[in-house]
């Protein structure tokens, strides 16, 4: 009982100093980029940066008049949504097999699926480009959909597998003695029981698909199949230079739905991002 230290005070100060500074690092660039979206082009690339601009809706008017922004949004939604549906259709049975059946080669097949996630897009960029060119799928959102689905398939499979592993085996045994067959067990018991995992996988796959850049750039070389992501990169404006205020505005338009989706699955985010290896 000689020395009883009061340890709370100083560590709290340090804690909020660290947490507060990192919050500023995260937020300030975003806020500043927000002001970019709301200023005229003349106040962006200047010899001396302007922190408090003349507010204007130039970017908004530009998007409404010159850029087919609705088309980009539609392309993004179609390609991303379609890819997620393809992924779920393929991944749920595969995840079920990996999670529940004991068969020869399970470890290796599972790892092969996982390892496709590790391949750099650039490695397959050239062959995929030639493949889609030969079947005439360049410049189509179908090609984007197929590519996005391929990129996310391993992730979706592993996330769902992880959630299926958590379902008690008894549940399936019960359904089997109750008279249900394999597919019915999957459909009526397993899928409803791991719905949070399926939703998590879908959301994370959607975010990765929205963010995909390289293939979108290669495959969608005409504006017909532009998605939001490529529209951003390609509208560096040519002779006009980069149209930053419009880019900023577009990125905020894409940011809001993603933020909402992520807040919805917040509890499952860490598990999803690690493909189920870390349970949050």
């Amino acid at each position: 009982m000689a020395r009883m230290r009061k340890s709370r005070g100083e560590s709290l100060l340090l804690r909020y100093l660290v947490l507060g500074s990192w919050a500023l690092v995260c937020l300030l660039p975003i806020l500043w980029f927000g002001t970019i979206a709301l200023r005229p082009r003349t106040e962006i690339v200047t010899p001396q940066p302007i922190y408090w601009p003349t507010w204007s809706l130039d970017a908004w008017h530009l998007l409404m008049s010159d850029w087919p922004i609705a088309l980009y949004l539609r392309n993004s939604v179609l390609a991303v949504g379609g890819s997620v549906i393809i992924d779920l259709i393929l991944a749920i049975p595969a995840a079920y097999a990996l999670a529940r059946y004991d068969f020869k080669g399970r470890e290796d097949i599972g790892f092969y699926i996982l390892s496709t996630r590790m391949m750099a897009p650039a490695i397959v960029a050239v062959p995929i480009f030639f493949l889609f060119k030969s079947v005439g799928l360049l410049d189509s959102i179908w090609a984007l959909m197929l590519i996005y689905a391929a990129i996310n398939l391993s992730l979706v499979t592993w996330i769902i597998r992880s959630y299926m592993l958590d379902i008690p085996k008894e549940l399936e045994d019960a359904a089997r003695t109750d008279g249900a067959g394999d597919l019915r067990i999957l459909w009526e018991i397993i899928i409803p029981a791991c719905l949070p995992g399926i939703i998590t996988a879908a959301v994370i796959a959607a975010i990765f698909a929205i963010n995909e850049f390289l293939f979108t750039l290669l495959i969608a070389s005409t504006s017909g199949a532009y998605t939001m992501s490529v529209a951003l990169a390609n509208f560096t404006g040519g002779s006009d230079g980069v149209i930053y205020n419009a880019i900023a505005l577009v990125s905020f338009i894409a940011f809001v739905p993603v933020l909402i989706l992520v807040i919805l699955i917040q509890k499952h985010l860490s598990r999803g991002l690690t493909m189920g290896a870390v349970k949050g």
Binding site: D173, A174, T177, D178, G179, A180, P192
Partner: protein, 348 residues
């Protein structure tokens, strides 16, 4: 409505043998309990009857038909699981209806059957709840209702009460037994709790290390154990098993001296139930190790040599520890086991 016959069942997992050469006849309408420690093969045996596992060798015959390669879904066997295994996304009503739906029972009959089953377990008022909103006992009853609703040929229950608290367990035990008598369905019940086995069973099968140790009525198992394993498993506290030496009609071990049949000699094991021991008398000389009053009876542990002897003493018995004490055995209730653990019968 069906008898079950196991013929030389063997179940191997790789090099490990889960069940070795097991044969058993279960009569129609019988309540049979498989009793044993965890890992003894009792659950595996039950799962093979259910069709959830395939025997490596041997035949399983239900109602006169070999069912080895018939899917679990078609065996007309209902099972109640330790964790209840209620479908979390369905209401109690949908849970109970599920087996009817799977078996294509006419929709017009389903509702009536579900309600009858639910009333039988007094869950009529909870049909709209999801399992997550039920208490442990209610979940257990919902699982029972789901099993009885389709009037299966065979009931299988895998430690159905082990997740309930002691008081609830007692009342559920009575309810299960009542229901089984009422429905007259052949029932196989797996447990590691000897009280459940004794109270529920028509016959008990005691298993250890994948093999049957003894089959018999609860009375037979209690009064006439076949070996030290059975003797040490049944009773609360179980039988005292004291290793010692028999010579010239006396059994001796450190601190123990008791009569034994004159024809016994060499290393043997003496068995005596705590309820057949009395404080005072000359068979055990030792020190009081601990006293546990429970209200209606007091459990007394006596240290004799290095061996603790358990005694059921009078309810008002009290003592400090490390006090010298003597214990007497009822000579008519002594059991003797050979070095191989098997009972030595007849004797005297």
């Amino acid at each position: 409505m069906a008898s079950i016959r196991l013929e030389n069942i063997v179940k191997r997992y790789g090099a490990f043998t889960g069940v070795q050469n097991m044969s058993l006849d279960i009569a129609d309408e019988e309540f049979l309990v498989l009793l044993g420690p965890s890992g003894c093969g009792k659950t595996t045996t039950m799962r093979m009857i259910a069709g959830l596992e395939m025997p490596t060798e041997g035949n399983i015959i239900i109602g006169g038909e070999v069912v080895n390669d018939i899917d679990a879904r078609d065996r007309d066997v209902a099972m109640v699981f330790q964790g209840y295994a209620l479908y979390p996304n369905m209401t109690v009503y949908e849970n109970i209806r599920f087996p009817l739906r799977m078996r294509r029972v006419p929709a017009s009959d389903q509702d009536r059957m579900v309600r009858t089953a639910a009333d039988m377990v007094e869950l009529g008022a909870f049909l709209d709840r999801k399992p997550g909103a039920l208490s442990g006992g209610q979940r257990q009853r919902a699982a029972l209702a789901r099993a009885v609703v389709r009037q299966p040929q065979v009931f299988l229950m895998d430690e159905p009460l082990s997740n309930l608290d002691a008081k609830l367990r007692q009342s559920m035990r009575v309810q299960i037994k009542h229901m089984q008598r009422q429905l007259r369905i052949t029932t196989v019940y797996v447990t590691h709790d000897q009280i459940e086995a004794m109270t529920l069973a028509d016959r008990i099968v005691i298993m250890n290390k994948g093999a049957i140790q003894q089959v018999g009525t609860p009375d037979q198992i209690y009064t006439d154990p076949a070996n030290t394993f059975v003797a040490g498993f049944i009773g609360g506290p179980p039988m005292n098993l004291i290793e010692g030496t028999a010579t010239g009609g006396r059994f001796t071990a450190p601190g123990v001296n008791a009569p034994c049949p004159a024809n016994l000699s060499g290393r043997i094991t003496l068995g005596i139930r705590p309820e057949d021991c009395t404080v005072g008398g000359g068979q055990v000389q030792g020190l009081v190790y601990g006293v546990e009053p429970t209200g209606d009876v007091t459990y007394l542990s006596v240290l004799a040599g290095t061996k603790q002897v358990e005694v059921k003493a009078a309810r008002d018995f009290r003592s400090d520890i490390d006090v010298p004490i003597t214990i007497g055995f009822d000579p008519a209730r002594l059991y003797f086991f050979g070095a191989d653990g098997q009972r030595i019968r007849g004797g005297a």
